[in-house]
Amino acid sequence: MTEITSLSLFELIKSIKEKKISSYEAAKSFVDRSEKSKKLNAYVTENFENCLKISKKFDSNPNFDLKLPGIPIAVKDLFCTNEVRTTAGSNILNNFVPNYESTVTQNIWNEGGILLGKLNCDEFAMGSSNETSFFGNVQNPIAKDLVPGGSSGGSSSALAANLTPVTIGTDTGGSIRQPASFTGTVGLKPTYGSCSRYGIVAFASSLDQAGPMSKDVKDSSILLEVISSFDKKDSTSIDFKRNNYSSELTRNIKGIKIGIPKEYRVDGMSDEIENLWKKGIEYAKDCGAEIIDISLPHTSYALPTYYIVAPAEASSNLARYDGVKYGLRSSGESLIDMYEKTRSEGFGEEVKRRIMIGTYVLSSGYYDAYYLKAQKVRQLIKQDFDQAYNKVDAILTPSTPSSAFKIGEKSNDPVSMYLNDIFTVPVNLAGLPGISIPAGTDKNNYPLGLQIIGKPFDEQTVLNIAYSMEEKINYKNNITDWWME
């Protein structure tokens, strides 16, 4: 029999429902493997003992009607979890234990999921390589000293290394899709307003969105079904009719129109990516989709727009970490001194950089030139997509401009790091659903992903296209367990 930890979520649920394995056995397998995988540094906080205890409890009185019956799941450490430390990868929340639960994680526990632990991430989700975490770098299981992507780097690493059957991340500018692409896994960013932001440590409120990360497309559809819900506690949550994504999942995408935006063919794009994209187009055709060339004329403004809007919101969202109420407090001579010391010691370099950028673009005299202009451009980017969707049902692009890079390779060059998000940020700016699926490898055998972008609230089409292409691509990660002790 295949190892429990290499089962897909769908297979794991099936095995538990058919009583082939117990929740405890499942939990024990993931705990044991996680214990042997400390070199990956995927976890910030382990919840192993609790997880085993709860799984036993589940087995004593199992409810197989639940969507995630006794399934152990590790989650990104940006989701507040009741009585379990929540750090957002930051020293300033090093000792923070919430007494409340995020809506998204609560939805998972309500369906029988069990918290396995909290996964490493870039500090306050600001980063593309997990190198900004206060809790250290995370290894990509694909190869030693390779970044797992970011900000949901602990999530992608743990998932690819089979430390958790599925996981959830958050995506502000690509933080689910880029790490999925770097680790040969699937990551879906839903439409803005689909998953509640309540209880998620905020980075940039108008862009943040939680989403599933999984080994295959079907698993993402199962998890999306659980976590997507209308929530009155989040004023930006949207009350739309949500599908039963997993049961409505189909590989029949005949006649679906897929757009190929010419502006995504950026300068200096490697042949590998170019070829991957071409291959993707052929796969889509094979699946019965109609390919249509489209234009998204304002694409080149997306990255600069993002790097104004996101830091602006972040600079304000992070003002609450001031040492007064919770989290780290450094001692100071006066209130101002205390603020300065707490925030100097509590925040890392990248977070400070973005707070400064954000503060600057909102300052009087600069607001109109930067923030206001960026908001206008954001509208234009949205309109680009609206117009494209008059012609097509979805859009196919590469997920990232390159494969995973070495730890330390880009950490001193923020701009080159920011360029990682070039294909993913327009989707956040427009609030659209987007998925990254593994589609091939580069010359080093590192995974590469393709991105499918959908219409607002049309996660089903995105999932169906991905599901259909996944079968044709038939990608398999080649992971050697090199890190295991």
């Binding site: 009155k232 304000s316 109420k325």
Partner: protein, 495 residues
């Protein structure tokens, strides 16, 4: 250095070295919205609770917590806007006003900056010299901050977040006010309107109503505005007036000395009766306002506004007009009676209970005279009056129909206090019915004249002052019950 009031006593002018200055005042009033819960959370807003007992995770800005607008507070703001004859905006936007302070948990205050919920309106002031229209610039909704307590712990500042997140309406006037008296009238009128609407209790002691006062001065007749100073967070009308007088004179002195006025924020020191610089324009915060991405723009339909319009009660200006038309009382009397909603209610109830044969003059005099004096004495509000409107109406009717004299009525009024006793019962039990039988009174007066023969002669010889003496004797002999009018008539005849 007090201001010198000009001769006509209606304007507040400051004279220095042949220059006459007028004061230009604009107010930013912060009025706490009457609501059981806060603007963006369900925490209670009850005044006087133990520190930090009315604080939700949202109020304390815990990670991942999000604001959710309280619809009731939105309705209250719109109602207030309607009461200020103002334009209600179908779309308004909540912004973040960013600054660090220990009692500001989010590190920003959620307020409305560019797009307030209420636009331009006006308020009518009833001044002795006539009515004055004061323009309203805007009204917007915002969160209150918590409270920093500096004087409990010698080494630390303590923070109470009970007030954090409580809904405030900031009502910004145009710079239309010209004197401390107008400021007094403006605040009172604003308070009155909001109390009629039930949108703010106007309790200044509890901090439900406070104001930032913008003051500038200019040569009388000039149309340019001078450089203004903003006096922050003044919490009583008296202090506002004192602060304005001090500040206006300070500015005039500076100008007269040839110096420039710096635009700055100042504090009023109530103990020293002076304003002090808090921060200059250069040090002014850059609040980095931007639309709060946690909240969608606030949209209200015309139907929603119309529904609220239909719920608006009769407001002081309309009530005043009706009182004048319907009850034939003077504008002055009407102004007094409508100024407070509870007074107006009391008055209307007295009028209703007086029935057909009502005497408005008596009603007005008794309420603004005896009753106000009583309430003032006991330092209570009219809704706590120990004498109900019903029983005061009865008392007035007893005077009107001649059962008792006004003088006896005052005695009865005192007796009624002890448990809101029906005056009719007091009259009967104490035998205080007025003696109006002419024969009985004649007998009584005959007796008095007989007993005071010499004085009666002196009176007849022209010492008219003595008439009062005889009236007094007659009243005394009757135990105060004699009908004073009859006594007068009979005495005139007999003497």
């Amino acid at each position: 250095m007090d201001g010198i009031m000009s001769k006509n006593n209606l304007e507040y002018l400051i004279e220095r070295n042949d220059n006459v200055y007028e004061v230009v005042i604009g107010l930013e009033v912060h009025a706490q919205v009457t609501s059981n819960s806060k603007l963006f959370s369900s925490s209670s807003t009850k005044f006087g609770a133990e520190p930090n007992t009315q604080v939700s995770l949202v109020d304390a800005a815990f990670p991942g917590m999000l604001p959710v607008i309280n619809e009731y507070c939105v309705k209250q703001a719109i109602k207030t806007g309607i009461g200020l004859n103002a334009k209600i905006n179908n779309k308004s936007v909540f912004d973040r006003k960013n600054y660090f302070y220990a009692d500001l948990p989010q590190g920003y205050q959620i307020s409305q900056y560019k797009y307030p919920i209420v636009g331009e309106g006006n308020v009518i002031l009833d001044m002795p010299e006539g009515q004055k229209l004061v323009g309203i610039e805007r009204l917007h909704l915002e969160q209150d901050a918590g409270k920093s307590i500096h004087d409990v712990d010698p080494n630390n500042t303590l923070v109470d977040l009970n007030r954090s997140g409580v809904a405030l309406m900031e009502i910004v006037s145009k710079p239309d006010l010209r004197s401390p008296d107008e400021v007094n009238a403006y605040i009172k009128k604003l308070r009155s309107i909001m109390r009629y609407l039930g949108t703010c209790d106007g309790n200044m002691q509890e901090g439900s109503l406070r104001a930032d006062v913008n003051v500038s001065v200019r040569i009388k007749g000039s149309t340019d505005l001078g450089t203004r100073c903003e006096i922050k967070n003044v919490n009583s009308i008296k202090f506002m007036q004192m602060a304005i007088i001090y500040e206006a004179n300070r500015q005039v002195d500076l100008i007269e000395e040839g110096e420039k006025i710096d635009q700055e924020t100042r504090l009023f020191d109530t103990k020293k009766n002076e304003t002090r610089s808090m921060r200059s324009k250069e040090d002014a915060h850059d609040y980095r306002y931007f639309p709060d991405p946690d909240l969608l723009p606030l949209e209200v339909t015309d139907e929603f506004i119309d529904q609220l319009k239909s719920e608006i009660p009769e407001l002081p200006d309309d009530k005043k007009k009706r009182f004048i038309d319907e009850f034939k009382i003077s504008p002055y009397e009407a102004t007094i009676l409508v100024s407070d909603i509870d007074t107006a209610k009391y008055f209307e109830e007295v009028v209703a209970k007086m029935g057909k044969n009502r005497d408005m003059k008596l009603a007005v005099n008794w309420i603004t005279g005896e009753l106000f004096a009583l309430l003032n004495n006991k330092n209570i509000e009219i809704n706590q009056s120990p004498i109900s409107a019903k029983n005061l109406a009865k008392l007035i009717n007893l005077i009107k129909n001649g059962t008792i004299s006004g003088k006896i009525a005052k005695t009865i009024f005192e007796l009624m206090l002890d448990g809101d006793i029906d005056p009719q019962i007091i009259v009967e039990e104490k035998g205080l019915k007025q003696e109006s039988d002419p024969k009985a009174l004649e007998t009584l007066i005959d007796k008095i004249i007989n007993e005071n023969r010499e004085k009666a002669i002196e009176y007849k010889q022209g010492k008219e002052k003595l008439f009062g003496f005889f009236v007094g004797q007659a009243m005394k002999a009757s135990g105060g019950k004699a009908n004073p009018q009859l006594i007068n008539e009979i005495l005139k005849k007999k003497l």
